[in-house]
Symmetry: C2
Subunit: 121 residues, 2 copies
DNA sequence: TCAATAGTTCAACGATTCATGAGTAGTTGA
DNA sequence: TCAACTACTCATGAATCGTTGAACTATTGA
């Protein structure tokens, strides 16, 4: 993933409704959900929903396909994984503390030897 | 990490200059860099830099401490790791495809059996 | 062909964010 | 105390984003 792509993906996710849409779509996999179903669960107007869906689409985080009179949206899980990979490896250069906290957040503690004594770095 | 916190962290990262600052600070760990050093490497005006640094600070992604006449900024790596953990586990519910693509992006291929045949979901 | 259904697009408005430059505040050394 | 240095705050104008409602397009079935 390139920086431009990552930036637009981050901007797309930095919105409550859109994050909620992604949260809904990921477990549905390729089957996805229709715009109407998403709208019913997300509770926003049709035009607003359409706006957010196209923002996610343009950011490359979801795909759209028509099925009769419905439009089905599905999460592009590989792209989402790619974004997380980018944050972890490109932006944080595979930093051990970041990786450790990414893997394990139970209790908010980090478990790498070198960071056991750190306050909140 | 809570949703509100994650949203502000995502919004903070969704900007080229701020992402660049994080990229600079993570490898420096607790030592961090002074505002002046960051400004020299990031190439933006002092006031703009200050604005971006305070945005990152408010989002909980960096810390500031004074050292003489300098102000030293350091990445809060645990928070950054927490954000990535949130994306992976809360938003994507630990989805296997997302996790696999997050771990391995070589060639852009995913390696879970169930997703080998998927196009780009 | 026509009505109903499912979604999208558009213009308009308000709110927020961004970049700039001027001015201000804290720290140091003479 | 004062000048130099380092960094922040504030006011401004421009640009972007988010929301709304009305109008539009595409599809289906009678």
């Amino acid at each position: 993933m390139e920086q431009t792509q990552a930036l637009s993906a981050l901007a797309a996710l930095a919105h409550e409704t859109r994050l909620q849409i992604v949260r809904l779509l990921v477990p549905c996999g390729q089957d996805g959900l229709s715009a109407g179903e998403i709208g019913a669960r997300v509770d926003c107007s049709a035009s607003r929903l359409s706006f957010h869906l196209s923002a996610l689409d343009q950011a490359g985080l979801i795909t759209a396909r028509r099925d009769g009179r419905r439009v089905i949206y599905a999460a592009k899980r590989r792209q989402i994984g790619g974004l997380i990979h980018y944050l972890l490896n490109d932006c944080c250069a595979g930093d051990q503390t970041v990786s450790a906290c990414c893997r394990d957040q139970t209790g908010g503690a980090c478990h790498t030897a070198s960071d056991a004594a750190l306050n909140d770095s």
